[in-house]
Symmetry: C2
Subunit: 446 residues, 2 copies
């Protein structure tokens, strides 16, 4: 419980005393006179582990700074903090020869705005607002848009994947030449994998797009990522599920990653999403699609897709670590778990004391797959005897599949296979590019 601090939220002790001396509130645009200079910016809320020695001000350049109160001579209010505003969307011609692209919004930073009162970021922007922020979209495609969810991506799970897959299939079967899905970057890789399986054999490009900086900030990557996603959805000659995010440090190159091989590998960089164990599918630069990988399935305009949107929730991703308590596996089995993806060490190992409970879980019908917490490289369980012991009890080696994709695939397989044997067969098959190296014999290059 917190009291209403009358515009001094988060400030305690000496900073609270100081702020109460001046007619300023959190969210106000203020001038802080220190011994050395005058700083202007928005007074921000203080959070966790805040001392009572600093006030925090967001400068005009977007950066927050802490100012030691012992250096402060005077604080004055310039104005109330401004709110972000968006122009009205441009009128679009009622008919258009451009390809029809649907933008479905699920939330995420790309569809968010900064609350200048608290400094926090909230999911809020509608697709119409995105369109008005990026008017160039209208010259690429005839845009149709729909807000399906407004969620932070950590709250996206199978409950959202299923209706999202159905909605995309509906749009495809209704004639869309491409679909763009705005999504938070945190779990974008998981959702992209889920859509890859649920829309297996999808005839046109479905492109998830996110951003790492919200669209009302000057350094935002939202517009460039959205333009690249829309261009790919409208014009690419390949089909399937992809992710569109910045490529490397460049301002103007966007990478199109395969939906089953994309992983968020950095908390904050614009090029946080990377293709793991494979190359990107294509690059988008200067309004064109280039460097297209040769093994992508071709676009088939006009074809329909029968969605398979079911996922089994009773699947866990378990990361092994030293002193890992194998009893967790027995507990999950007692709770009715149907599948477990292990993130083992190196080539796919866990401690010997896990062996018995893994064996029992497999014997009770649970499907257990092995991935590597290394992220890069491939599980290869025939090299060391500890790996061979796990194979002997029926653990499935998942080669170079990402742990996150393996989780999603197992959730999909267990909901869609008609028998345990079919589930095992499907886990081993390369359905939508989740194995980059499945062609090679496991024995090669040991």
């Amino acid at each position: 419980m917190s009291l209403d601090m009358a515009g001094t939220e988060g400030y305690t002790g000496r900073t609270l005393v100081l702020l109460q001396k001046y007619p300023v509130r959190v969210g106000d645009f203020i001038a802080v006179k220190t011994r050395e200079s005058i700083l202007e910016g928005t007074l921000m809320t203080r959070y966790d582990y805040a001392d009572d020695q600093h006030i925090v001000v967001k400068l005009r350049n977007g950066y927050n700074i802490g100012i030691n109160i012992d250096r402060i001579v005077k604080i004055s209010r310039i104005s109330e903090g401004s709110k972000p505003s968006f122009p009205t969307p441009p009128k679009r011609p009622s008919t258009s020869n451009l390809p029809k692209v649907t933008i479905i919004s699920t939330g995420g930073t790309i569809a968010s705005k900064v609350d200048y009162r608290t400094g926090g970021v909230y999911p809020a922007l509608t697709v119409e607002e995105l369109l008005s922020s990026v008017p160039e979209l209208s010259s690429i495609a005839n845009i149709d848009s729909e807000v399906l969810f407004s969620l932070y991506s950590e709250n996206m799970a199978s409950e959202q994947w299923s209706p999202l897959a159905l909605k995309i299939a509906e749009k495809i079967n209704d004639g869309a030449r491409g679909v763009v899905v705005t999504h938070g970057t945190d779990t974008m890789g998981y959702t992209a994998a889920a859509l890859s399986f649920a829309l297996n054999d999808c005839p046109i490009p479905v492109v998830l797009v996110g951003s790492q900086r919200s669209s009302d900030r000057p350094s935002s990557d939202a517009a460039a990522n959205l333009l690249a996603a829309t261009l790919t959805a409208a014009n690419a000659d390949f089909s399937g599920v992809y992710v569109s995010m910045h490529h490397g440090p460049s301002d103007d190159t966007i990478a199109i990653h395969r939906g089953t091989k994309a992983r968020k590998n950095h908390t904050s960089r614009r090029d946080a999403l990377e293709s793991v164990n494979t190359s990107y599918a294509a690059l988008v630069k200067n309004g064109g699609i280039s460097n297209v990988a040769r093994d992508l399935p071709p676009r088939r305009n006009g074809a329909t897709v029968p969605p398979k949107p079911s996922f089994e929730k009773r699947v866990s991703l378990i990361k092994f670590h030293p002193d890992f308590d194998p009893e967790i596996i027995a507990h999950l089995v007692s709770r009715g778990i149907r599948g477990i993806v292990l993130e083992g060490t190196g080539l796919g190992h866990v401690a010997s004391n896990c062996q018995d409970l893994i064996k029992k879980a497999v014997e009770s019908g649970v499907i257990i797959g092995m991935t590597s917490q290394c992220i890069w490289g491939s599980v290869r369980m025939t090299v060391y005897d500890t790996g061979r012991d796990l194979l002997a009890v029926g653990v499935i080696p998942l080669s170079d599949m990402l742990p996150e994709t393996a989780l999603v695939k197992m959730m999909w397989v267990l909901a869609n296979a008609s028998s345990r044997n079919e589930a095992l067969r499907l886990m081993n098959e390369n359905l939508v590019g989740e194995y980059a190296s499945r062609r090679l014999l496991e024995e090669n290059n040991v």
Copy 2:
């Protein structure tokens, strides 16, 4: 249960029938005449998911190939497979002016050999055997050696960390100028972190070393890594716990990584270990130590170290994922867990449905820290309201600390702090370089 297949282990169906026609056994060096050519190599065991269409032969160049039996015209035995052999260690002068370095062996690929009968790798080599494989070591240091364990690294945990820390402290307090620890690469990062905390304020360099290719293979990285580790232990002018492994694709450059910032990021590359969110500590090349980071603690020859080798086992590392069942947290609490490190998404998020059980766990006295499954970057929980909600219930944001290091630190802190408050304070303090960015205000550059 498996029957003794009389030298045809793993082969079934048609391949078994074929092999039984010829006087060859697994492990034999054989010639296989196919329709196109003659292939010579060692007949290997077949493992998991093997079809009955191929036999597997390890060629002289070290690569395994599967040969389709329909192409086989004839198989003949050339000889029994050779076993690896090692020369006797060279005699060392009984006195030496070289610095005294202790090599402690715990196992791992660096101390392993290939079983030519099965193609598997087993922990086996003694330190004496390592010395005889790498005679140059004798010119760097006066080597003293001890085999403490012979374990695959997935079996290394706090039960081994404690005696290992005590043994290293004993050697330091006994006058060693440096200590080298051979270790499997799988959990090398975890053990390096454990030793960093247990030997906090260590006066000399302690260098963990592993290899990705066993030392009896031509492409082995064992010798180069071991030489670099020994050189660093003997001569570096910095102290603390490090890891010595190949740097990038170069054959002759070895990176020395900080013990709290090293992670195995590839299952099989020689440069699998990387420094995450910081630079390497130094490079070793052409027999010299270069590119030394400026912020390393100096060597203090002759100083002693009081080891703090206790670790609390009741700590878990939990990776969040979509459809994560938060009941696992309640279950761990009911089992008496004392600490949980969460691997959240992005800047440090979990789904809203985890909030209540996390709150209850903290209220019951469990310490919960947040890291990011992105691996790179830093947790920053003040950006989104979901992060702020977790901070409000007492989850500790662990900034740029690796999830694996955070687990080990929490295990160490809970065993060594005298109160919950001291434990919380220690988790936030930068003890041995586990936070690369702790100097910066959390609010900077939001």
